[in-house]
């Protein structure tokens, strides 16, 4: 079971959110501008960091790239020397970094050092794979998690609540790798219902999505349950009931909206963790995603692919945060920060 939430209780700090149609334009513009600046600085920072870290890694990059290209049977000093000459790896590091940043400004991500294919093409392919997996898993987690959480919150301490607590504890306790393997053994190998591996078909998506979604649904259920219970107990919900609103309207207009203010940022964090945490599940199900690309690129010192993958991941985090901010502004349009003071 997840611990008590540490956020400020929505009901105690301020009155319940009033349903409003308009969202201040200044607030929206503020969010977008802030996130825009963040995106650019994150891009710069991530690229330079990636480059520096790769430089500091042990091992000779030319040998690593040659091993990536030709495999362990054919990598030798000659192939490494040829790679070094071809890619200009003996140029000073700052020249290489400058080259990359120069190309980046022109929106050119370059070519992979190992496969010689355009990086943009490679990363786009893996990004689609990861997004498919992460989005589907998030949908499963939200549907399953909020459903269970709301059901559990109806009667705290009741049978449903306790059953949900068992579910939350079990899916949190089983690591994704084990859960995935169990699913493959049971659903794929024993029952023969679904293919164990594959990429791109609906059938091959089910098992990895279930693995990720089920694991995440536990957390979502826990947070939903706690939040809904708290909102239910709040004074303004009690007031809404007292003033004669039907239970249906209380839930829709007060509980759901106020619970969402807590849940949406939380889901944002989960989405980010999900994107970064699919590596194990991707490898288990041979699903081609960014995790796969990142592991290979690091192992092979494929710096352009590594930089581009990290860049995409970083920008993805910024995008998710922007979406969460905008959703927050829409859900809870009360002015904050400087706006409150003025």
């Amino acid at each position: 079971m997840t611990g008590k939430l540490t956020h400020a209780e929505p009901g105690t700090a301020s009155p319940p959110a009033r349903p409003r149609t308009g969202v201040p334009v200044r607030m929206l513009a503020g969010v977008l501008a802030r996130r825009g600046v963040q995106a650019v600085s994150v891009a710069l920072l991530v690229s330079v960091l990636c480059f520096v870290i790769t430089l500091r890694l042990p091992g000779d990059a030319a040998y690593r790239i040659a091993a990536g290209r030709y495999g362990s049977d054919l990598v030798d000093s000659e192939s490494a020397a040829a790679v070094r000459t071809e890619l200009g790896l003996d140029r000073p590091a700052w020249v290489q970094l400058g080259d990359w940043l120069g190309s980046l400004v022109q929106l050119d991500l370059g070519r992979s050092l190992v496969t010689s294919r355009p990086v943009a093409q490679e990363v786009a392919f893996y990004l689609v794979g990861t997004l498919q997996l992460a989005t589907a898993a998030l949908v499963v987690a939200v549907v399953l998690g909020t459903g269970l959480g709301v059901a559990a919150a109806r009667r705290p301490g009741g049978l449903v609540d306790r059953l949900v607590a068992v579910w939350v504890a079990s899916v949190r306790a089983v690591p994704p790798f084990l859960l995935g393997l169990l699913l493959v053994v049971v659903v794929s190998a024993q029952l023969g219902l679904l293919p164990a591996v594959g990429h791109g078909t609906a059938a091959s998506l089910v098992l990895p999505v279930t693995t990720l979604g089920a694991g995440l649904s536990g957390l979502v259920a826990g947070v939903t349950r706690d939040t809904v219970v708290e909102v239910h107990r709040s004074e303004w919900v009690r007031f809404a009931r007292t003033k004669g609103l039907s239970e249906r309207w209380v839930v829709l207009r007060h509980v759901v909206r106020n619970a969402a203010v807590v849940l949406v940022p939380y889901l944002g964090v989960q989405a980010v963790v999900l994107v970064e945490g699919v590596v194990v599940v991707e490898s288990l199900f041979s699903w081609q995603g960014l995790g796969h690309a990142l592991v290979h690129a690091t192992f092979w010192r494929d710096v352009p692919v590594l930089q581009a993958t990290a860049l995409v991941l970083a920008l993805l985090v910024v995008t998710v945060n922007t979406v969460v901010d905008l959703a927050g502004v829409w859900l809870d349009p009360r002015p904050r920060g400087a706006g409150v003071a003025s």
Binding site: R64, S72, D73, A80, T115, S204, L284
Partner: protein, 514 residues
């Protein structure tokens, strides 16, 4: 909330049913597609990079190929002959061969592929110093700077596969794999999926299997489950645990063949301790190879008794005394070399402990496990070993800068079908990336030289005996185990043959079981 839950349940069950249908379709339909799974990802279409997959899938062909016994046999060339000084080799191409796009195979086209391979530093052809490739009609002549008897064997290597002119993009890179084999590419989804169908242009007998789908699967556990659940017909690269699973399952069997690959310790003969042959012998005597082979490879018979496995008949000596396990003798050899045990059990000489770093790489799952077994065995005779599992390229890099002390490698001795090419590289005077390090022996050099320049059959046999005996006595490389290549094969498939050199998977020779 009820409605929402209902919608979710419906969506989930829909997804499950679609998936289930797709999976059942594959099982019940009359077999047309052979599904192959293995750990081999395809990241590049260049023949020198991941080209082995396309020769294995019988999409591309080389001029010369090898049969299941490793003997040279005709590929795209029906015949070949050297000039009297062996610096020029002429290959006559088979008649009537066409690429999958309909273009005829001519000497001119073949020359382009060979010249590309000769420029590719990773290709064994680049080691032969090719001066040029000439074509005249249906013949090509390879001109070499120095005589080489091994050229036909080198031309069995996948990096020399012949591609159609239409395979190359305007930038000279390979854009599509258009070969001449019995199967043509249907679709390539890099890095994990390749599907092929029978090529209409194929000059030989039409294969029984209509189409093939190859899927790269990174994890050995997943591959084993695919084999036992019938989701793949041929599965390569199973770990010992996966093999026992397959052995226990119905409707799938294990096929295997001894590969000309040896798992061995590469020692730096310039290292203060390892320069002494008695220390090298002590390391060898300390290893309980049958126990290690049983524990790690699940097959005691894979314990190496000499450098090359019995499957390489010409290079496996029946005369030489087999390597043995004798801890007492190992300690005695160390003592004779001046290494005496200290209070902590680690041997010392002039106050210095005998501590060595053992590099290995995870490309083959057996290597890290075997490295820790070696660490444990050597600890018993007082040699402290630190195991470092890293990238395979650290070994050639460590050879180059001299920092390497000891490495556990899986060396293939027939990357081209004649082991002489790899033997000559492994024992190159002074050392080579995947061979000896800072070690040289005049008898060895002369024997290798005699074989490379050509000699009578009897003297050739003598030279090979010298090579095997010198390697066994001097132990610049300590053989640990031989290697068995295995595959799980479904009972739906008849006629599967495991090629020990893995030049091709011989799918065109298989058929569906009745």
């Amino acid at each position: 909330m009820h409605r929402r839950t209902a919608v979710a349940a419906l969506a989930a069950s829909l997804a499950l049913t679609t998936g289930a249908c797709a999976a059942t379709d594959q099982r019940t339909a009359a077999p047309t597609t052979l599904r192959v799974a293995g750990p081999f990802e395809v990241h590049s279409l260049e023949p020198a990079a991941d080209g082995e997959l396309f020769t294995r899938l019988e999409v591309t062909e080389t001029l010369v190929t090898s049969d299941v016994r490793g003997q040279l046999s005709p590929g795209l060339a029906r015949d070949w002959r050297p000039s009297s000084d062996r610096t020029q080799w002429t290959f006559d191409l088979v008649e009537g061969a066409t690429f999958h796009d309909g273009t005829p195979v001519t000497g001119e086209v073949v020359a382009v592929s060979l010249e590309r391979a000769a420029q590719e530093p990773a290709s064994p052809l680049a080691d032969l110093d090719v001066e040029g490739v000439d074509s005249a009609g249906q013949a090509v002549t390879v001109r070499l700077a120095a005589p080489a008897l091994t050229l036909p064997a080198v031309l069995t290597h996948y990096s020399t596969a012949v591609l159609a002119p239409g395979s190359y993009g305007t930038d000279g890179r390979v854009r599509s794999v258009i070969g001449t084999g019995p199967y043509a590419i249907d679709e390539i989804a890099l890095p994990s999926r390749v599907s092929t169908t029978r090529a209409k242009q194929w000059r030989g007998k039409a294969p029984a299997v209509e189409s093939v789908q190859f899927q790269a699967v990174g994890r050995a556990e997943t591959r084993a489950l695919m084999a036992v659940s019938g989701q793949a017909d041929v599965v390569f690269g199973l770990e010992p645990a996966g093999r026992s699973r397959v052995d226990a399952a119905d409707s799938v069997r294990m096929e295997s063949s001894l590969q000309p690959r040896t798992l061995m310790l590469k020692l730096n003969a310039d290292h203060p301790a390892l320069a002494d042959v008695r220390v090298r012998r002590a390391l060898s005597l300390a290893l309980d190879r049958p126990a290690m082979a049983q524990a790690v490879l699940r097959e005691q018979d894979l314990a190496a008794t000499q450098l090359l496995p019995p499957s390489l008949e010409a290079w496996h000596s029946t005369e030489v005394a087999p390597l043995r396990h004798d801890v007492q003798e190992a300690r005695a050899q160390l003592a004779a070399a001046g290494w005496a045990p200290g209070a902590d059990g680690v041997v010392r000489k002039d106050g210095t402990k005998l501590e060595l770093t053992l590099l290995t790489y995870p490309d083959r799952p057996e290597l890290p496990a075997l490295a820790t077994a070696i660490q444990a065995e050597l600890a018993k005779v007082g040699v402290a070993v630190r195991v470092d599992v890293t990238n395979s390229s650290e070994i050639p890099a460590g050879q180059k800068d001299g920092s390497l002390e000891m490495a556990l490698v899986a060396k293939h001795f027939a990357l081209v079908s004649d082991p002489l090419v790899d033997i000559a590289a492994v024992f190159a005077p002074g050392g080579s990336d995947w061979g000896v390090m800072n070690w040289q022996d005049d008898d060895m050099d002369q024997a290798v030289k005699a074989l490379l320049t050509g000699t009578s059959e009897q003297r050739g046999a003598q030279a090979r005996e010298t090579i095997v005996e010198t390697a066994q006595a001097e132990l610049p490389l300590v053989p640990v185990a031989w290697y068995r290549m295995n595959a799980a094969v479904s009972d739906r498939v008849d006629g599967f043959v495991m090629d020990p050199l893995e030049t091709t998977w011989r799918i065109s020779g298989t058929s569906w079981a009745r």
